[in-house]
């Protein structure tokens, strides 16, 4: 205590304390004094010390048997009951089977419709829909969007992916329509009623934290493997963004406009339809865009439960390590994603541009053109007898890709002098980063980890967060999945560390240098539209599977969001504050340390939270390519229809998700999702 300096600048002191929340600042003079001023930090340091000492003292990291409860037996019973009664029980006969049949027939008829249109008809329809969405006519925007559509569908055909692509698009159409409808209804409930908001908000929040992977299995058992369970999971996964943004739009409507409408004597209904909903249009369109993208991501992922289409191509070829084939299907998916993204985004752009809105064109005319041209193209295709994409128009890239991959593995994999090689790096990373982390986590006594998690959650949140975090960990241990979950957790932590390091560095750079921002923006846009599943492909090619490949794909998947949020945070700070510091002669480093980073703190915390959620969902999926741990249990459960195995792993993943979200969640005021 005597080390306390006599002239500690008060400002500096306060500044430091807010920072020492999670990381320990270097031992500067007065460090202990500062630490003592912050009870939460003291608690955290104490908890960490206890954990480390307990681990070193040789405490066993194994969850005690007495504290487990048996979830497997009831789950196995339920599993058997479901399989036995799926075709006879009234709940299925009169309710669930209807959903399943309706979904199946809807998807079938859309796919059949696409087949009957023929490849010419589909391409013409897709191109013209994009054109009409872009404002029709001969403006650059409409033509550019149409060109994107033409390129996407042409390439899909050329790659020989036409047929599976149509299956995917067919399922997509049905899922998007239903998810959007469900989303709008829920969004209106939560946007117009405060009680609805109070009930639905936490549901949406939790949905956003859950990795999609974790709740596939129950639906497989209820609806059996196939289109219906893919449909239901996709709708559940994709509806929340629509609902959330609809609600946001309804609540954020210009108060003056609403008051004006009220002052003119509008009824509630009139106000809703003439002012409130139109004012929310932009947000709702953004929601639709996100919903479509999440639908695509899930439809592809749902190939594991028999959704068919492009996802199945990837799944099958990944499992036989045919990188070329999986890359071909992956490219087709990305093309579909780009087409959908551009077509929906351009509608929003048009709303922003008043000049486009002023042009008074008859709104039905472009759509009549679309219908007529599609019909014409279909007639031509049928007359020529060319409904399917001609086989001789296919350029196979899978062979060359495979040879490139082989070359990479043999030439770059290992044995490059000094540098090593990708495979060497992969095993090195696994050996020197992931393994020690995992061993440390598994060697630390379970009670010490519970303590650390609780204190951490308390330090960033409140008692409620601490209780939730401890409970989540407790459930994991109680199910007897402690060791496997620590394995997954170690991968998440490793991936998160890399993601944040890279993400903050790139984000800050982009936030300070306009040229960098301009250069990486299109890249980020594209990366964010790619479905999760596709990220696995290049990693398998580079690292030939394993935990490092999983971690690498998780980093790649979470990086765009972290970079984007960091960049925005740096750019959104008050320019006057920065100018003031510059005018006082602050150096670049001083500006960054003293102004930009502290002011961007809420954004950085949000980036951490987003990074955690995204990394976890990807690490789990990477179980398929050798990541092991919980992810592989889910996959096994799905493949064998083993509810006891898959469901417990799924619950453990959910618990991990909740835990990680709680200990990384910034205060409610900065928690704005959907950035």
């Amino acid at each position: 205590m005597s080390a306390a300096p006599t002239e500690t600048p008060v400002l500096d002191k306060r500044d430091r304390i807010t920072h020492s929340g999670s990381e320990s600042p270097p031992a500067a003079p007065g460090f202990w004094a500062r630490l003592a001023g912050n009870p939460k930090a003291v608690l955290l340091v104490a908890a960490l010390l206890v954990a480390v000492i307990a681990a070193l003292a040789g405490g066993s990291g194994i969850w005690p048997k007495d504290l487990t409860f048996d979830l497997r037996t009831p789950l196995t019973d339920l599993n058997e009951w479901l399989v036995d009664n799926r075709d006879t029980h009234p709940l299925f006969l009169y309710f669930l089977l209807h959903i399943s049949n309706t979904a199946q027939s809807a998807v079938d008829s859309v796919v059949l419709g696409l087949e009957n249109l023929g490849f010419i008809g589909v391409t013409v329809a897709a191109v013209l829909v994009a054109w009409a969405a872009g404002g029709a006519g001969l403006q650059r925007r409409a033509l550019r969007t149409a060109g994107t559509a033409l390129g996407a569908f042409g390439l899909i055909g050329l790659l020989g992916m036409w047929e599976p692509a149509m299956e995917t698009v067919g399922l997509m159409v049905v899922c998007v329509v239903v998810a959007a409808l469900v989303g709008v209804v829920l969004g209106m409930i939560s946007g117009l009623s405060d009680r609805g908001e109070r009930i639905l908000r936490p549901v949406f929040d939790t949905m956003q934290v859950l990795p999609a992977f974790s709740y596939l299995l129950p639906f497989v058992l209820i609806f059996d493997v196939g289109t219906p369970s893919a449909f239901v999971t996709t709708v559940i996964y994709a509806a929340p963004p629509m609902a959330r943004l609809t609600s946001l739009g309804l609540r954020g409507a210009d108060a003056a406009a609403l008051e004006a409408s009220q002052s003119l004597g509008a009824t509630y209904r009139q106000q809703l339809f003439t002012a409130r909903l139109p004012l929310a249009r932009k947000q709702m369109l953004l929601g639709l865009n996100q919903t479509i993208m999440m639908c695509l991501s899930m439809v592809v992922l749902a190939s594991m439960i028999g959704a068919g289409g492009l996802g199945e191509e990837i799944y099958r070829s990944l499992s036989i390590l045919d990188t070329g084939q999986s890359l071909t299907a992956g490219i087709a998916i990305v093309l579909i994603a780009i087409w959908l993204d551009r077509t929906t985004a351009v509608v929003g752009e048009r709303l922003d541009d008043p000049a486009a809105a002023t042009r008074r064109n008859r709104s039905w005319l472009p759509w009549a053109v679309v219908a007529a041209a599609t019909a014409g193209a279909t007639a031509v295709g049928t007359a020529l007898g060319k409904l399917e994409w001609p086989d001789n128009w296919v350029v196979s890239i899978s062979e060359p890709v495979n040879s490139v991959v082989d070359w990479i593995e043999s030439e770059l994999g290992s044995g490059i002098p000094v540098l090593g090689g990708t495979l060497t790096w992969a095993s090195g990373f696994a050996e020197y980063v992931i393994n020690p982390l995992r061993d440390a986590l598994q060697a630390t006594p379970w009670w010490a980890l519970l303590l650390v998690a609780g204190v951490l959650a308390y330090a960033v949140g409140r008692w409620k967060a601490a209780v939730t975090a401890v409970l989540a960990l407790g459930v994991i241990g109680g199910m007897g999945l402690w060791t496997r979950s620590m394995d997954t957790l170690s991968q998440v932590i490793a991936a998160l560390a890399v993601t944040l390091l890279l993400g903050f560095a790139i984000g800050v750079l982009a936030g300070r240098v306009d040229r960098v921002e301009r250069a990486i923006r299109p890249l980020l846009d594209t990366l964010q539209t790619i479905p999760q599943f596709v990220y696995l492909i290049p990693m398998v090619a580079l690292f030939s599977g394993g935990r490092t490949a999983g971690v690498a794909s998780a980093v790649l998947y979470a990086l765009p969001a972290v970079v984007r949020i960091t960049n925005q945070g740096i750019r959104q700070i008050d320019p006057a504050a920065l100018e003031a510091s510059r005018s006082l002669g602050a150096s670049t480093g001083q500006q960054l340390r003293q102004v930009q980073l502290p002011l961007a703190r809420p954004s950085l915390l949000l980036a951490v939270n987003q990074g955690v959620v995204l990394v976890l969902s990807m690490v789990v999926i990477a179980g398929m390519i050798g990541g092991g741990a919980l992810g592989v249990d889910v996959v096994k459960g799905l493949a064998k229809g083993d509810l006891a195995l898959g469901m417990t792993a799924g619950i453990a993943i959910v618990c991990l998700g909740v835990l990680l979200d709680r200990i990384s969640q910034p205060g409610a005021d900065v928690k704005k999702r959907g950035l």
Partner: protein, 415 residues
């Protein structure tokens, strides 16, 4: 160690001294505030009674009241109803009220009449309750207690349907932030009120077109609000209110978001509309020059209460208290005060000479007439000479010396 402790104690000492100082300062301040407040409250109350009685008497003339507001309260907060009902709570100051009940009184016991065809300006600084007041008139904000009648009809007793009818046809409002719908063209924004009434498309567009031309937006019918300047947007807001042909136009600080030059244009637009149509207007503003320019009568509010109600001339010439006097200190008096107030009784010989001026001629115009002729002017009403003004009277108005003379006059009159 000794060093640090000494430093610490020294710090502590200085701190205590500081707090003591500030405390004493605070108490003296508070005391001062209290006494002054008490003083103003008293005078204010007296004024309010006076003005209230004044309005009652003026209300008896040939014009009738459109809005008649009595003892209106709007209290925000938990169990707001009890505040106006409880004499003791009703008498508390704003800070005390918040501390004791958690409530804020935005409008406190306000009574006034708005005469048919006049421009009634409610003026006050932000937080004076003027915007809340105008919203209670059509119950966009429900008042806590009191009564409002519109053409003799009790507004607070209207059911939902009747209230909507009132909002649709009889009173339309223009908002500070325009409140336009960005997804509609100018024409459809103007026609919005008619659409809500259920008027057919062709008819409402025709009517809207007419109004659009009236407010000087011809040629912009098909633009979107975002493509217009602030002044143009407020013209759309004005047109939207005019399109429903309301009995009363309510303006809630309509021009405060505009540039000074454009504000002036818009004020002239309002004056022109009023001249042409003679529609009753209730106009909320925080800008004194705007209030003086537009208002037939001005109601000055402070802390939810009426400070003074009168014509611009009355307010400038006879401020009710120090607060109002401060407010109107910089007003060019010669542009507000009329010769009726400035004149002196005429001598026998003066009644025969000098140019004739109407009694409501402004002093600034009289100055010109006097300067040109070089002699006094007569104030003539209906062929009868009421009095005369010469250099001395006019200069004392400009110099602000007429106040005392005025007071003396009043005394003489009452005696």
């Amino acid at each position: 160690m000794a060093n640090t402790s000494a430093g610490a104690s020294a710090e502590g000492k200085s701190e205590t001294v500081d707090t003591k100082k500030s405390e004493t300062v605070d108490t003296t301040k508070a005391g001062a505030v209290d006494t002054t407040k008490a003083g103003t409250v008293d005078t204010k109350k007296a004024e309010v009674e006076e003005t209230a009685s004044a309005t009652v008497t003026t209300g008896a003339d040939d014009r009738d009241a459109v809005f008649s507001v009595r003892h209106l309260w709007k209290v925000f907060g938990p169990k707001a109803k009890r505040v106006p009902a409880d004499k003791e709570l009703a008498g508390l100051s704003a800070a005390e009220l918040t501390e004791r009940t958690g409530c804020t009184a935005a409008v406190r016991d306000v009574s006034f009449d708005v005469q048919r065809g006049e421009v009634f300006v409610v003026m006050g600084l932000s937080g004076s309750g003027k915007s809340t007041l105008v919203r209670t008139l059509t119950r966009l904000i429900e008042p806590t207690s009191g009564s409002i009648s519109f053409d003799g009809e009790d507004v607070l007793a209207l059911d939902k349907g009747k209230l909507r009818e009132l909002r649709r046809h009889r009173a339309a409002m223009v908002f500070q932030n325009f409140g336009l719908l960005p997804h509609r063209s100018v024409l459809d924004n103007v026609a919005y009120g008619l659409e809500i009434q259920g008027v057919g498309k062709a008819e409402r567009r025709a009517k809207a077109q007419e109004i659009v031309e009236k407010v000087g937006l011809a040629g912009m019918e098909h633009r979107r609000p975002t493509q217009l300047s602030g002044g143009q947007q407020q013209r759309v807001g004005l047109a939207r209110a005019l399109a429903v042909d309301p009995e009363v136009l309510l303006f809630d600080e309509p021009f405060s978001a505009l540039d000074p030059l454009i504000r002036r244009d818009m004020q002239e637009e309002v004056i022109r509309l009023h001249r042409e149509e003679g529609r009753t207007m209730v106009f909320i503003t925080h800008d004194l020059s705007e209030a003086l320019r537009l208002g037939d009568r001005i109601m000055l509010m402070r802390g939810g209460e009426i400070v003074q109600l009168g014509t611009p001339e009355e307010i400038v010439a006879n401020p009710a208290d120090e607060y109002v006097r401060d407010f109107v200190r910089d007003v060019p008096r010669e542009q507000v005060i009329s010769v009726r107030r400035a004149m002196r009784p005429a001598d026998a010989e003066e009644t025969g000479s000098g140019a004739a001026l109407a009694p409501d001629t402004l002093v600034v115009d009289a100055i010109e007439a006097v300067a040109r002729s070089g002699e006094h002017c007569r104030v003539v009403e209906g062929g009868r000479t009421l009095g005369v003004v010469d250099h001395a009277q006019l200069l004392s108005v400009v110099a602000g010396l007429d106040d005392e003379a005025d007071a003396a006059d009043k005394k003489a009159a009452t005696v």
